[in-house]
Symmetry: C2
Subunit: 352 residues, 2 copies
């Protein structure tokens, strides 16, 4: 033990899904989109003027903020951008969750929430979801230091109607409520429409799933101007230039092709619904997934055994060895061809 | 005042140099490199496969870490990468400076250090530099919670010999000492050679200055494996994927052209030395700059007046309205042509 270790922050980091390097695997474990981004992104990168790299990017990533504001029909001052939604949410925890009261989020949810809380020494409580993995909204009526809820939730894939979300926000006007909508484009209505009504609401979305750009690292938040102002103040107290020039350029280009975006999402949803039927026939039960993944459990065979059997076939899905969900698999939606191979491997393993 | 504002973190953000959007200005205010990055970077971006953007980057940015380890002849486990050196140093503050004792850094230095300390509520003291803007090493012998020293310092451009740096490190084996070497490639020996000797030393460098890539956002730290391990644990408790795929690709490519790198640095240094002579003839005094900028004061005319006069000519230099340095200008080294126009404007204003 070296003396300087006394001052080291004690953390247990988040563990992302495996990122195997080899090419011939079927990767259904990190909820990436199986389809490439629009050709507008391809052209934007191909024509990118690398001479401009000598200069710092615009510290506000103004072009990207403007493009997002236009896209969502909000003011520029209502948009914040970061290096993936993890950066956005991490920054929001640091900015808004400075109370002695616990923040609240569901017992089953994105595992990074508790990691950020631990990192910044924020107390937290985790009200349990009900037996159908739905929110119990009354659990969020108690005094707290802030709330974060993902909608749709991960890894459960359950989408809550806006009325439930709004009920929780309206019962908590004295704290900031973050709605993490990483998967919203595969689901239903966004709570974005509520930001003009609730000054304590921050809605976070990402390019990583529906925009097929997990590799470019862009997340963004929408909220009232004062909320975004505070978020920018903390961001600018950490790093003036978080968004690099290629990300800004590619991020703007992605928004310019709504047609492809909608086509691709429909395609993923179509595959998801087909796979639900196939899984059902193979003896799986699952929530009514409204995301780009399915959260499934087999009636007879242990999830962990299926996970390991698939892994041997170089098919990677996600397994969480955690309370209440240790008999579930989280299966990202791949291409139709990948999903056919996945179903084939399942049939073989299950002797069906 | 809204109730949720009670829980907001109170900060005063760092203010970067102006980034005017117009093209026809002479921008000598943010220490950017006037020359573009190597053609290897240009080709890497041009040939970048945007289809891969659908996938998350490698969470360890392994290709970049490996390339840096090779370049500096250290182990991969001795290298940490981040979104510019601001991200690296901000993360290091959060990781290593968790003591009740104050951390130490010079009174005149990079203004982000106090911003990070305030953000994370770390106490700090700022021992004054001597009248020549040199470190007083004995000031760093007192008990403290950690030390950060830039070498060369900014905005003073003063480089300290490694013996001074090593003296401070060796007197502080019980805390982490960060040497911020953003400008080292324009100066002398790096303290990187000391990391194998001192397990409490973290050396931070950046692509933003000498590698002409401020726009790609890459910084890195070198230190012993245990130090890097802790830094990664905190980074992975904040954001698994900080480095996007284009940054990793461009960052690796930049390291493959040592010839151009050295040529370009020589060029900047050559211009710097020429401008020193010119400034001297115009009545300026300055430190013996070992960076890509000059920190200068005029014998007769106020820095602020010169700053404003240059600004009217669309020549941007940096002026800090701070104690001890409010009669200095920080002038980044541009191309020879830009510097000629700068000198010409100065001559006109000074009637010389």
């Amino acid at each position: 033990m070296m003396a300087w270790q006394d001052n080291v922050r004690n953390v247990v980091p988040y563990e992302p899904g495996e990122q195997p390097e080899c090419k011939n695997i079927i990767k259904l474990n990190t909820n990436e989109n199986p389809y490439p981004p629009t050709d507008k992104v391809k052209n934007a990168i191909k024509n990118f003027d690398t001479d401009t790299l000598r200069l710092y990017p615009n510290p506000k990533a103004a072009d990207l903020v403007r493009a997002l504001a236009d896209y969502y029909q909000v003011e520029e001052e209502e948009v914040f951008v970061g290096v993936g939604s993890d950066d956005v949410i991490g920054m929001a925890f640091l900015t808004f969750f400075n109370s002695n009261k616990p923040i609240l989020f569901p017992d089953i949810t994105y595992s990074f929430y508790s990691v950020w809380a631990d990192l910044y020494q924020i107390p937290y409580e985790r009200p349990p979801l009900d037996d159908n993995f739905k929110l119990v909204k009354e659990d969020y009526y108690k005094e707290n230091g802030g709330i974060i809820i993902p909608n749709p939730n991960a890894p459960t894939a359950v989408y809550e109607n806006l009325s439930v979300i709004e009920d929780i926000i309206s019962h908590n006007r004295d704290v900031v409520v973050i709605i993490d909508e990483a998967y919203i484009d595969f689901a239903g209505k966004s709570s974005g429409e509520l930001i003009s009504k609730y000054d304590n609401l921050l809605v976070v979305q990402t390019y990583s799933k529906s925009r097929s750009m997990a590799g470019i690292r862009i997340g963004y938040a929408m909220g009232n101007k004062q909320l975004i102002h505070y978020l920018n103040a903390v961001k600018n107290s950490y790093n003036s230039y978080t968004m690099n020039r290629t990300a800004i350029t590619a991020g703007v280009a992605s928004l310019q092709d709504k047609e492809y975006f909608e086509f691709m999402i429909d395609k993923v949803i179509h595959t998801r619904e087909r796979i639900k039927k196939e899984l059902s026939q193979l003896g799986f039960t699952f929530t009514d997934s409204q995301a780009n993944f399915i959260f499934a459990s087999h009636r007879k065979v242990l999830a962990k055994d299926i996970f390991e059997a698939l892994r041997k076939e170089e098919i990677y899905v996600r397994y969480f060895d955690s309370k209440r969900i240790d008999n579930y698999l989280r299966i990202s939606i791949g291409t139709d061809q990948e999903m056919d191979l996945f179903i084939k491997a399942l049939k073989q393993y299950l002797n069906m």
